[in-house]
């Protein structure tokens, strides 16, 4: 039988595709068929494994393999760029009906060149869906291929991956891996075929099995450690993970074996973190009496558990000056009153000399309990840690919110930390006020106990500086 110059009226044609992902082959056959005016319902597209059009292999419509030859004067077939882009992707889909759909849209495109813009058209919509599924598959392949390193016979490292794509994307995506790993020897094995790159040329190979790929790689342990450590158990969002990394991919991802255990332990880990920083959920105290009751019951840090008493601040509510020390000492703890020990007496002396009325000021400490170590029978003062000061800041802020002083005098770096949340150098900070968040002025000077530890010339020098600091505060009080 000679080739038929024109399509026979009513004839049915079957096109057998040599490989499932050959868009160019389809394009050439489709072009000829359109030119011969063969409507979509008269063409079957059959994949290498025989699947395709329902009518292709059975019944009275079994198609003629020999395709018609278009007449020489047949008009050229036209398609928009957008159609070509979408069709190239959609052709790689594993849906056996894809080539039939492509032909239908191409056919209709000849009558309506802008058909592809009509996203409400069911066939166009379906085509876009196929293309989208293929693009997603390709994207997931870029993401989830995991290479394992083996050494080739010549000792060169060879990176081999096993991957199971949903669609016929392997050949189309080989270029991505070549551009990325150009100077590496690598292979990607899939159930649909394999590709190999040796640093210079690409080679295609037959379909592979999972067992053909190496079983592990020591670096995977590090990767799993990283995966577990970067996970934040305080924000579990399993749904978000699953939508982007569906379970079907898990079996080939070395890190995925950790997921069930990470999810299971997340709540316990978060609860442990919250419990470790556990303070009672308490409302901020509204009065100084409440603060005093609150600190007596407070066990937020370890200092509170040493059998000492909490020492509340003293002074009128609404005082314009607030004086903050570091923590109560031995005598303060015994008496339960602030600044009555040797340092307190020294402070009183200097305040009086500066003309500041202590009874008009509110006097308190950054930390409310006495921290000490036993030395024989004596309780020796120990400086509170930054964490302890920060913990106690809750109470100091409550006091500030109630008393609302315009000027705050911090005695020593510990007191300053309680007010500012940071450790500063007293030597640098003294002499100029720091604006607090409520607009009050913070003046920083040394703790009077510092003067007690000095003697001779050094003491005189420091005492003069201390007196000068108090004088400045006195001046600001007067000016305010």
């Amino acid at each position: 039988m000679s080739t038929m110059p024109y399509a026979a009226i009513g004839a049915h044609y079957a096109v057998h595709l040599p490989v499932p992902d050959d868009f160019t082959f389809w394009r050439e056959r489709a072009r000829g068929l359109v030119q011969c005016d063969v409507p979509p319902d008269r063409v079957s597209w059959i994949e290498p494994d025989g699947t395709g059009d329902l009518f292709a292999s059975q019944g009275p419509f079994r198609g003629d393999k020999r395709l018609p030859v278009p007449p020489a004067d047949a008009p050229p077939v036209r398609a928009s760029q957008r159609f070509l882009t979408v069709a190239r992707s959609a052709a790689l889909h594993s849906d056996p009906a894809r080539f039939g759909l492509l032909y239908q849209v191409l056919w209709r495109l000849q009558r309506n060149p802008r058909l592809i813009e009509d996203k409400a058209d069911p066939q166009v919509r379906r085509l876009e869906e196929l293309a989208k599924a293929v693009r997603r598959d390709a994207h997931k392949m870029h993401a989830f291929v995991r290479f394992r390193e083996v050494a080739d016979d010549d000792g060169t490292p060879h990176f081999v991956a096993w991957f199971e794509p949903d669609h016929h994307i392997l050949r189309a995506e080989a270029g991505f891996f070549m551009r990325r790993f150009a100077n590496m020897r690598w292979s990607i094995l899939t159930p649909r075929g394999s590709i190999h790159w040796d640093g210079k040329a690409m080679r295609e190979g037959p379909a592979a099995r999972a067992e053909d790929a190496p079983g592990g790689d020591p670096v995977e342990d590090l990767w799993r450690s990283y995966y577990a450590a970067i996970f934040n158990p305080a924000r579990l969002k399993v749904g978000a993970m699953l939508s982007e990394m569906p379970k079907k991919y898990w079996k080939n991802l070395p890190e995925a074996e950790l997921i069930p255990q990470l999810i299971a332990s997340a709540q316990a880990r978060e609860a442990a973190m919250v419990a470790a920083g556990e303070r009672e959920q308490r409302a901020r105290s509204a009065t100084l009496v409440e603060v005093a009751q609150g600190i007596a019951a407070c066990r937020d840090c370890a200092i509170a558990d040493c059998g000492t008493r909490a020492v509340a601040g003293e002074g009128p509510q609404g005082a314009r000056l607030m004086i903050v020390g570091e923590q109560p000492g031995d005598q303060e703890d015994i008496a339960g009153r602030v600044f009555i020990g040797p340092a307190g007496q020294l402070l009183d002396e200097y305040l009086a000399r500066a003309g500041i009325d202590r009874s008009a000021a509110y006097v308190t400490n950054a930390v409310k309990h006495f921290k000490f170590t036993w030395k024989g029978k004596r309780r020796l003062h120990q400086s509170p840690g930054a964490k302890e000061i920060d913990t106690c800041r809750w109470w100091l802020e409550a006091e500030r919110a109630i008393v609302r002083p315009r000027i705050v005098l911090a005695l020593g770096a510990g007191a300053a930390r309680g007010l500012l949340g940071r450790t500063l150098s007293v030597t640098k900070a003294r002499g100029t006020p720091i604006m607090l968040d409520d607009g009050a002025e913070l003046w920083v000077t040394v703790h009077p106990s510092y003067l007690l530890r000095l003697d001779g010339e050094a003491r005189e020098q420091q005492a003069a500086l201390f007196a000068a600091d108090l004088a400045r505060v006195r001046e600001r009080l007067g000016a305010d």
């Binding site: 009509d118 994207h139 450590a229 934040n232 993970m241 920060d390």
Partner: protein, 418 residues
């Protein structure tokens, strides 16, 4: 959680665990939008082709695109929200630049990652730390010809010259503003200074523009942070409301040409500072902020308009998205005729995304749209219906119903008896 091992005896794996754990509170993980490059004709590995790739997802729903680690979690700063602050009791570790380089390359060759996101606690001085970060990037780029993605966190206190070096090696640089208000910064990050942070951002922006300009004239002019700069704000650690956060973000986009502002809901950290709120803000709040960020960047909303959608306390409603909240407040702008309305109007319809709007605009050149057509073009016609009209549909009463919010808000799930 971590075994206390003296630092000198830590294995690479232990260091990785500590320093990845310390880095996880930084939300940014993008690897997109940089200059295209590949390893053909080079000596090493690596490519960037425009679209970022998420190589894995952790159960927190966050994508893992880059190896995100700190060079060290020792820090001389004492920021209260930060797990690595000086006064925190966490295990400390330190990588050498070579160790980071080897890890990056080993992970990259196995296709685990798109590249490196390197940050660090401040050790010794800002300059010293920044030099170490730049050294890692230099070894990767110059000694190994690495052409993957590099994101370097820059330290605002470091010298401009070192930050400049960082931008020459990195695809993206970022400086975290951390907290939306100066008051929050003073209280929670006392060592940081908003002026200094914004100053550094401004200088980086100038360098990015300059480098782009040079490349227009000289093809071989060096690139400077081709993926731009980004920043992160912590949500819920201070009392700034959503309106304040949105306003700040809008200012950052405008003034510094940022590519992204990341919002990170403050989450409880081990050994938390007592100044912090103990409970985390709802994760949904972070989500609503990202949605409003999208409204500003892709939907033509002004910051003030998004803030208008907020409730009386200045926070966005948690039960419905900000676009729906805006539509419910400004019902006079609806219904919108999908066959006639301009793109800007369509973008304001709750339930219509940029893709759906594009499809509608294309399709209506070919046909007059009916409700069925709209249903094919959108994800959920039920959401869209009250706000549009088509040739066969008018929401006559629906748009005016007082209980519209209840009809559209996602159903609260009733718990079953157990």
């Amino acid at each position: 959680m971590f075994p206390t091992v003296p630092m000198a005896q830590q294995t690479l794996r232990q260091k990785l665990e500590i320093l990845a754990d310390a880095a996880k509170y930084d939300a940014s993980c993008a690897s997109s939008g940089t200059a295209k490059k590949n390893s053909l004709g080079g000596k090493g590995v690596g490519s960037t082709e425009g679209m970022g790739i998420c190589h894995a997802y952790a159960p927190d729903g966050r994508c893992i695109s880059l190896l995100k680690i700190l060079l060290t979690n020792h820090c001389i700063f004492d920021c209260h929200y930060c797990i690595n602050r000086k006064s925190s009791n966490v295990a400390r570790a330190r990588f050498t630049p070579r160790e980071v380089v080897d890890l990056t390359l080993n992970f990259y060759r196995r296709n685990y990652i798109e590249g490196l996101f390197l940050s660090s606690g401040i050790v010794r001085s800002a300059n010293h730390t920044m030099e170490q970060l730049v050294e890692v990037a230099r070894i990767l780029r110059e000694e190994h010809d690495f052409r993957g993605y590099i994101h370097l966190k820059t330290i605002p206190e470091a010298d401009a010259e070192i930050i400049h070096q960082a931008g020459l090696y990195a695809d993206r640089v970022s400086i975290n503003v951390e907290l939306p208000t100066q008051a929050g910064l003073t209280r929670l990050a006392p060592d940081k200074n908003a002026g200094q942070i914004e100053g550094a951002m401004g200088r980086t922006r100038a360098r990015i523009i300059e480098a782009k300009d040079e490349r227009k004239r000289f093809r071989h002019a060096p690139r400077f942070a081709p993926a731009g700069q980004s920043t992160q704000m912590i949500v819920g650690a201070d009392d700034a409301n959503d309106a304040a956060i949105i306003g700040k973000a809008s200012r950052l986009y405008g003034a510094f040409g940022l590519r992204r502002v990341y919002y990170s809901a403050f989450s409880p950290i081990p050994d938390a500072s007592a100044v912090l709120p103990l409970k985390r803000p709802p994760l949904l709040r972070e989500h609503r902020l990202y949605q409003s960020d999208w409204l500003m960047r892709f939907y033509g909303f002004a910051a003030q308009e998004v803030a208008d959608a907020a409730e009386a306390d200045g926070n966005l409603p948690l039960d419905i998205d900000p676009k729906l909240a805006w539509a419910l407040k400004f019902r006079a702008s609806f219904p919108v005729d999908v066959n006639r309305a301009a793109k800007e109007q369509l973008l304001r319809v709750p339930g219509l995304g940029t893709t759906a709007v594009g499809r509608i605009l294309a399709a209506r050149r070919h046909r007059t749209l009916r409700l069925d057509d709209v249903a094919r073009l959108t994800a959920s016609v039920a959401k869209v219906r009250p706000f549009i009209c088509t040739i066969d549909w008018r929401p006559t009463l629906l748009t005016d119903r007082a209980d519209l919010r209840r009809l559209l808000a996602p159903r609260q799930e009733q718990l079953e008896l157990f």
